[in-house]
């Protein structure tokens, strides 16, 4: 959810109307969570979940076997998947571009924790061009402070550059 919130916030700072919300499963730590984001030039009135995403971010690769994470995507869509193994087995719809990023390792190295949301945000920014790195950095610095902010920015930047090179 934090990733969704920060991406939406960064987009808002970039001048669009954005919306971010979660879909919780059961109330416990470790339960699968989905979060949804919409951007628009106009006020967003729609409240339903997102069924035909233009973009998806998968933070937990173990879900790929159990859940059709790419469901509803069409040609032109972009997926960013946190995984060490780029050749994961999944039904990727025709025309969807997948970026495999080992965000867990980057996060462990930069933050000391396997919390991948900010890293994946950097990858998202580079892959889609929907938010600028500066807006992302601003969003991170408003959410985190001091060395925590620096570390998260560094992690996001690393992923950004990694994907920017491949994009």
């Amino acid at each position: 959810m934090t990733a969704a919130e920060l991406i939406a916030f960064a987009a808002f700072e970039g001048g669009v109307y954005s919306q971010a919300f979660p879909a919780f499963g059961v109330e416990r730590r470790g339960a699968p969570v989905q979060a949804f984001v919409r951007f628009s030039d106009e006020k967003i009135r729609l409240r339903s979940q997102v069924y035909e995403p233009d973009y998806i971010i998968v933070q937990d690769p173990t879900l790929i076997g159990d859940v059709d994470v790419f469901m509803g995507m069409t040609a032109g869509g972009i997926a960013i998947v946190n995984t060490e193994k780029p050749d994961f087995d999944a039904r990727v719809p025709e025309g969807v571009k997948v970026y495999a990023v080992d965000a867990t390792t980057i996060a462990l190295e930069e933050l000391g924790l396997p919390i991948t949301n900010t890293t994946l945000m950097g990858a998202f920014a580079a892959a889609t061009g929907e938010i600028k790195l500066e807006a992302l950095e601003h969003a991170l610095r408003s959410r985190f402070s001091g060395s925590m902010a620096d570390k998260n920015v560094k992690a996001a930047e690393r992923a950004y550059n990694l994907v920017g090179g491949a994009a």
Binding site: Y17, A20, P22, R45, R47, Y51
Partner: protein, 384 residues
């Protein structure tokens, strides 16, 4: 100026600016972010309030009732099971004419246990004498708290109010909102002046018992106060519009109803999705409109009848079910439209947080136009 934040946080920020003097609340999903924010604000001395941490929702509302009777502006928030636990106190609060404002982050009632949204909780207390208003987005959720205090504290009204907004769908959604400054809120909402209060120097007992000779007349007076609240809300909503640029003088809001053959009727966040669905249907030449009921109690019968004049088919979306009867809003809309000639159908939908898509709204319109109504929409017969 627009700021990007979670609905709960926007509500907490507005409540802070309303200068409550006593806050008593018990945490319950999905209201928790509001009361946690307020507790933090009190701890940081950003609000000059007494925050009473109680052991249950029954105590929370009891504490609010006592504090209100003692002459304080009070606030609480709850939902679902918590509101159910407050049942008795709700009736007492309205009977004692205390202007308590309480946020309801609408959530379904168990059993079966569910943390997800529907409007069963507040709707189940429609008999209680509390005003009920429903927000369709986070801006409305925030703004309606200010208007509620103003209406409730009017000495001609003196009633408590539920400010309802859909749990998770609004409370946990981040979107842009415009927050007024403290000065702006002070200009709109003056300090609370109680009509009467508990005072050792001038002792009064509140909530005396009434014999059969008097009980009916007491209840009649509460009923009358609720109806007076309609005009008070319209006035306060208009003043809000003049000061903040967002007008709330309408008890119901019509969307593309002017030439509609079919009208949807709904409350809360589902209206946002419905409006998008209506725009799509209109592009395909279908004449559909929406009536958003902003104020559910008192029930705006004449306003509904007026708004739906000329509509031949009405489809009510009910995020609740009065078990053994039907959707509560549908039942009341049917009564209101009695004799109008319109066909009114009721669709129980989105219970327990089931997502509603634009295609579902369109499907309801199809069903209504085919004369198929009064049903649980989208019933999954395969699991029955």
């Amino acid at each position: 100026m627009l700021e990007f934040m979670e609905g709960s946080h926007a509500v907490a920020e507005i409540v802070k600016r309303c200068r409550p003097q006593v806050i008593a609340a018990y945490p319950i999903t999905p209201q928790t972010h509001i009361v946690e924010d307020l507790a933090q604000m009190v701890a940081n001395c950003e609000i000059d309030a007494e925050y009473i941490t109680v052991e249950s929702e029954f105590s929370a509302l009891s504490a609010c009732l006592g504090a209100s009777a003692a002459g304080s502006r009070v606030y609480s928030a709850t939902t679902s099971q918590g509101l159910a636990l407050m049942f008795e106190v709700c009736f007492n609060a309205a009977g004692m004419r205390q202007p308590i404002v309480m946020s309801i982050t609408n959530r379904s009632l168990g059993a079966p246990l569910s943390i997800w949204n529907d409007q069963q909780d507040s709707i189940s207390l429609r008999d209680s004498g509390w005003l009920q208003v429903y927000a369709q987005d986070n801006q409305e959720a925030a703004d309606l708290h200010m208007i509620a205090y103003k209406v409730c504290e009017d000495h001609n009204i003196l009633l408590p109010a539920f400010v309802c907004f859909d749990g998770f769908i609004l409370s946990h959604t981040y979107e842009p909102v415009s927050l007024p400054t403290q000065e702006e809120v002070d200009a709109y909402l003056p300090a609370f002046t109680p009509y009467q209060r508990l005072d050792a120097a001038n002792p009064l007992s509140f909530g005396m018992y009434a014999t059969p000779e008097y009980y009916t007349e007491f209840r009649y007076e509460i009923d009358q106060a609720l109806y007076r609240a309609k005009d008070a809300f319209i006035k306060a909503g208009r003043e809000f519009g003049e000061q903040f640029g967002r007008d709330y003088s309408a008890l119901v809001e019509g969307y593309r109803l002017e030439d509609a053959d079919t009208a949807l009727v709904a409350m809360g966040s589902i209206c946002g999705t419905a409006k998008d669905a209506i725009d799509e249907m209109r592009e395909h030449g279908r004449k559909v409109g929406l009536l958003n009921i902003r104020m559910f109690r008192p029930f705006p019968t004449p306003e509904i009848v007026d708004a739906l004049k000329g509509v031949s088919t009405v489809a009510v979306l009910d995020k609740n079910i009065s078990l053994g009867s039907g959707g509560a809003v549908g039942t009341e809309v049917k009564a209101a439209l009695q004799g109008s000639g319109a066909s009114v159908y009721d669709y129980v939908i989105a219970l327990g947080g089931r997502d509603v898509r634009k295609r579902d709204i369109a499907a309801v319109v199809d069903l209504a136009e085919k004369g198929k109504g009064d049903m649980f929409y989208g019933l999954r017969t395969e699991v029955l």
